[in-house]
């Protein structure tokens, strides 16, 4: 992209964009470690993930402040305006993903304080979580490269995470019916599965903002994005 006549404007925008990616990396790490904590029950890791959400929150506040400064100082227009607008929404989605990671860690704490996972069906949860992490990573790549093809793939993939969530629910209902003593643990796992499903939703939102930045087209709530997207 051509540089601005004001070099400082470029520096400010580049700084904001790279810190969005840093925030994305932190959120990705929080989710991954929350899932590790769920599997291992390691108390220190659980506490670390819960406390780590403060860093995510602080990054959201700082980035919103920086976006406000760009608006005040530069009155961005066209693709710059779309970028700033999309970033303020992206950091909100990232912060909420951070909340979901914290929620997973809290559920992990509750499950392990109650005596562990026992025979809880976690294979599908692991699949869904790997899938959600992959979607988040690809969304961040799409944002970094302003790549609408990847963004469209991510939007399409969110439907798979939703389907996986519904499958987990069905499985957990069977699990609870077979042995009512597992209900507390199963409900915690439902919350974890829901958190993973929400992470997919937030990643999808972010992918929609990438399309908005690049093409200026708002594909939210339209059912399908622009471009070469073929609805399955």
């Amino acid at each position: 992209m051509t540089e601005h006549a004001s070099k400082q404007y470029d520096v400010d925008l580049d700084s904001i964009r790279s810190r969005v990616l840093q925030m994305g990396g932190l959120v990705e790490s929080q989710i991954r470690r929350a899932l590790e904590a769920l599997a291992s029950g390691e108390r220190a890791l659980i506490d670390d993930v819960i406390a780590g959400d403060q860093r995510v929150n602080a990054m959201e506040v700082a980035l919103d402040g920086d976006c406000s400064q760009v608006i005040v100082k530069r009155q961005p227009a066209a693709n710059d305006l779309r970028m700033i607008f999309a970033i303020t929404k992206t950091v909100t989605d990232l912060e909420r993903m951070g909340d979901e990671a914290q929620k997973i860690a809290r559920m992990a704490k509750s499950i392990h304080e109650r005596g562990g996972l026992h025979a809880a069906p976690l294979v599908e949860v692991r699949h869904a979580s790997e899938h959600a992490l992959s979607v988040l990573r690809r969304t961040l790549d799409a944002f970094a490269r302003l790549d609408t093809v990847t963004a469209e793939e991510v939007i399409r993939d969110d439907a798979r995470i939703d389907a996986e969530f519904r499958a987990i629910l069905r499985q957990l209902i069977t699990y609870m019916m077979e042995d009512p003593r597992t209900i507390s643990t199963a409900l915690d796992i439902v919350w974890i599965a829901k958190a993973i499903e929400r992470i997919g939703d937030h990643a999808k939102n972010m992918a929609e903002y990438v399309i908005y930045i690049v093409k200026g087209t708002d594909v939210r709530h339209t059912g399908k994005p622009v471009g070469n997207f073929n609805e399955t």
């Binding site: 601005h4 006549a5 404007y9 961005p76 227009a77 066209a78 779309r82």
Partner: protein
């Protein structure tokens, strides 16, 4: 040139149509084949870097270039509803200026009283009735949102007014002859933010009765006050479109580079 949003423009009638307009300062071609509509009772902003021809273009509408020898127009500016080609040699530029008012960058009141500044155009037109002149002056000052500030000082020199008031006086002077089209050439570049806001508010109110064409270097001003925006570069019309779209999603990369400050 890209076409503006069809939904918006189908309900609008053009007050003027610019068709293949060229303009020459001697041998130098300053405008190159410009075509665009100027929609009735809408505000159209002309933006572009210094030297792009936007003020030259604006001045074609009231034949200001006729004042200097060697200047030459080609093409047409057709004013509706009577389809008069404003650039035709058979059309008297004085008549054109009666129908098309202009407000300049710096307020330029005449060295006369506030009242006489506004009455001037009416007197030139041959109006002799003192009562009618007083009514018209009062109405024009009201339309320019100045009457409340000058009602008791009508016969003071216009130079006693502040810069923002002087500019509104110039707008009142232009309005007094009931123009069909008002041209603004960077009308707020010499004013402070408060005076600028009052002029912008006035432009917003005036478009209910008059078509407005405004040249501005301030893109936020173009975004605030105009319904349509035209981006010009090197004497050419690069993009003309609905303002709300042009500042968020311009069709041309050249426009995007300019409005985002990537120009040059």
């Amino acid at each position: 040139m890209s076409a503006p949003d069809m939904q918006m423009t189908t309900t609008l009638a053009p007050k003027a149509d610019v068709k293949g307009l060229d303009f020459y300062y001697g041998d130098y071609r300053a405008l190159n084949s410009i075509s665009m509509p100027v929609y009735e009772r809408q505000v159209t902003a002309l933006i572009g870097p210094s030297g792009c021809g936007k003020s030259t273009f604006l001045r074609c509408f009231n034949r200001l270039h006729d004042l200097y020898p060697g200047n030459r127009y080609a093409g047409e500016i057709v004013l509706h509803p009577d389809n008069t080609n404003l650039l035709s040699a058979e059309v008297d530029p004085i008549e054109v200026r009666m129908r098309i008012g202009m407000v300049f960058q710096k307020p330029n009141p005449f060295p006369k009283s506030i009242f006489e500044n506004v009455a001037y155009g009416l007197r030139v037109r041959g109006e002799t009735s003192r009562r009618r002149i007083e009514e018209k002056v009062e109405q024009a000052l009201a339309d320019a949102a100045l009457i409340g500030e000058v009602r008791n000082r009508m016969h003071e020199p216009a130079y006693n007014l502040s810069g923002g008031q002087q500019q509104r006086l110039c707008i009142a002077r232009a309005l007094a002859t009931d123009p069909e089209l008002l041209l603004f050439d960077e009308p707020t570049s010499a004013l402070d933010p408060i005076a600028t806001a009052s002029i912008e508010e006035l432009i917003h109110d005036l478009k209910e009765r008059v078509t407005i064409l405004i040249v501005t270097h301030n893109m936020q001003q173009a975004a605030r006050v105009s319904d349509f925006t035209a981006y010009m570069y090197l004497g050419e019309m690069i993009e003309f479109g609905v303002t709300d779209e042009l500042f968020i999603k311009p069709a041309k990369k050249q426009t995007e580079d300019y409005i985002t400050g990537r120009f040059g």
